[in-house]
Amino acid sequence: MTEAVNAAPYGRDRRPFLRRLASASEPYLYSAPALILIVTVMLVPLVIGISYAFRDMTLLDPFSGGFIGLDHFRALAKDKTFWQALKNTVYWTGYSVALQFCFGLILALLLDKPFRGRGLAQALCFLPWAVPSFLSGLNWAMLFNPIVGPIPHWLYGLGLMSAPDNLLSSPDHAMWGPIIANVWWGIPFFAITLLAALQSIPRDLYEAAAIDGATPFQRFRSITLPFLAPTIAITVMLRTVWIANFADLIVVMTNGGPADRTQIVASYIFTQAFRRLDFGYASAIAMVLLALLLVYSMLIVLLRQTLLRER
């Protein structure tokens, strides 16, 4: 390396061609193993997956596999279930993230204040995160089932339901079942990350603000929120992407039903690929979802950078 650098300024390099080639390719040779590994594990499957979107790939049809151009995307534009699923995805993601964030922030603020037994409370509050999502889906499905679960009876007792029916089989409200399960499961993520951010705020800033005359709410607004903003932006973005792609709870609890009312794009992809075995169409839907989430992430990254620059 040093040799190559030193030789460069002195006109024509007189070393034999092979020597020059060896020293020029040296950095690429060193990084080749890592690059080859990354390309084979990440890029190859991605490219093959994307290629499915432009091919007729049906698992049960031995003659499929031919290039069909944008046919899948044309079909998608007219697919009512897809548009419904897209709407459901916004609904599912929006409510899940908003509620997880609100409860997570409240929990983090509570756990930030010292009190007796805080260690135990912290451990308990973070427990749902450790439960496998399938298990929590099954558990909540059971809780909503009027035969074995108590929730329909409580809702009936409170007068919120006219009869103790299964929430998950009501076409108008079925989406709330997975959303509630998801909120329960995802609060700890926000609580942990926001608590970490809260604890990194220097205490004397609060003291200075208290002396300057700020009420607790004013201190929250002018110190806590500005300090949390970058963390909030990045966690909300991450969770939105995850939840938009997160079909486990829906597949386990409602399987997209009743009548596709809880079908989100991710669960629709799963249905197309593994129930209808139409990998080509599923891949086309996945590409649309990918594009939407990319646009969304770019926006959040821009927002975060503006927030950080203001610091």
């Binding site: 200075a208 300057d212 005359g213």
Partner: protein, 358 residues
């Protein structure tokens, strides 16, 4: 502006007692420095005045009004923190105007107040910067600016200069003193640096282990320390202390230091014959020479030139004696010289109680 009255104030965290009953009255416009080693309770006392710590017992009054139960925001005091505690997401102007904005002060008044303070502290060109773009000294000045825009009843300073380098600290010390002379505001200043205490204070409160040791003007504390703690804490290089025995039977009061050396005293001390006492003498008062009447032999172990003067470490009568002299070349390492303790410069303390007895 207001006076501050502290009456038998105590602080305990559970069983651990931090302050054991502090009584102190600070006059309107006075600059009082709380000084003492780490953990002596001086910062706790300041934070109790600010309202950042609960008062376990006793009473604090600001301007004649009891503030024990008041929130910091209702006490009308301003505080400068050791870490400056500037709001990192606000500009210098934003930091300085925050308290006024919270009070819904009129925009023109805020602008006038912060530009006045900025001018006083030469911050005017920095008003739109954020704290992270400022140097340590500039941050320090912003923290002071934030305090003065409000015209509070009292200023509290919690070791405000300890994060600065030595030169800047000296400079800011001067600025703080000038500012106090300008504003004439009641100020309480906490530090562990006795030079800061000496130079800034109208009155020094020396504290140790949660107890006030002595209250007085800087020169009072320096010239007539009330006990061994104050004597040892104030002054650098520190006062020489030698343990000995008090003798006065033959009408000539003196202290026997061992090895047959005894030092005569100016007058009798209010203590019994044979009491263990400690003789204290400041290094700058120790005389060093080739031949001194009433002096005793000492061997020079170490010579420390400071430029300003010379610190000589000598051994005599089995003890180390430090002497400070403005003269250079007084002695070399290994020289045998005479040292003498002028009788009017000697402090006498009771070794057992630590109290001054002469």
């Amino acid at each position: 502006m207001a006076s501050i009255d502290i009456t038998d104030v105590r602080k305990a965290y559970g069983a651990v007692k931090i302050l054991h009953g502090v009584d102190l009255t600070i006059q309107d416009g006075e600059f009082v420095v709380l000084v003492g080693p780490s953990g002596c309770g001086k910062s706790t006392l300041l934070r109790m005045i600010a309202g950042l710590e609960d008062i376990s017992a006793g009473e604090i009054k600001i301007g004649g009004k009891r503030v024990n139960e008041l929130d910091p925001k209702d006490r009308d005091i301003a505080m400068v923190f050791q870490s400056y505690a500037l709001y990192p997401h606000m500009t210098v102007a934003g930091n300085m105007s925050y308290s006024l904005r919270l009070r819904k002060t009129a925009k023109e008044k805020i602008a006038a107040a912060i530009s006045g303070a900025a001018e006083k502290l030469s911050l005017t060109p920095l008003m739109e910067r954020r704290p992270k773009a400022l140097s340590g000294g500039q941050r320090q000045r912003v923290a002071m600016g934030r305090a003065i825009v409000r015209k509070p009843k009292a200023f509290l300073f919690d070791e405000p200069l300890s994060n600065l380098d030595a030169r800047l600290r000296e400079h800011m010390r001067g600025e703080i003193k000038k500012l106090h002379q300008d504003l004439g505001a009641t100020s309480i200043y906490v530090t562990h640096d006795q030079i800061e205490a000496m130079t800034l204070a109208d009155r020094i409160v020396a504290m140790n282990a949660g107890v006030v040791q002595q209250v007085g003007s800087p020169l009072d504390l320096y010239d007539r320390p009330a006990n061994l703690f104050v004597a040892g804490f104030m002054g650098s290089p520190a006062m020489n202390m030698f343990e000995g025995t008090y003798r006065a039977t033959d009408g000539a009061p003196r202290i026997e230091l061992g090895q047959g050396i005894s030092v005569p005293l100016a007058g009798p001390a209010p203590t019994a014959e044979g009491t263990k006492v400690t003789l204290g003498i400041r290094p700058e008062h120790v005389l060093v020479g080739r031949e001194l009447p009433g002096g005793f032999e000492a061997r020079i172990d170490l010579v420390e030139p400071t430029g300003f003067g010379t610190i000589l470490h000598a051994s005599a009568f089995g003890s180390d004696v430090k002497a400070f002299s403005l003269e250079r070349g007084l002695a070399e390492r290994g020289d045998t010289v005479h040292v003498a303790f002028p009788v009017e410069r000697i402090h006498v303390f009771d070794t057992a109680t630590g109290a001054r007895i002469g």
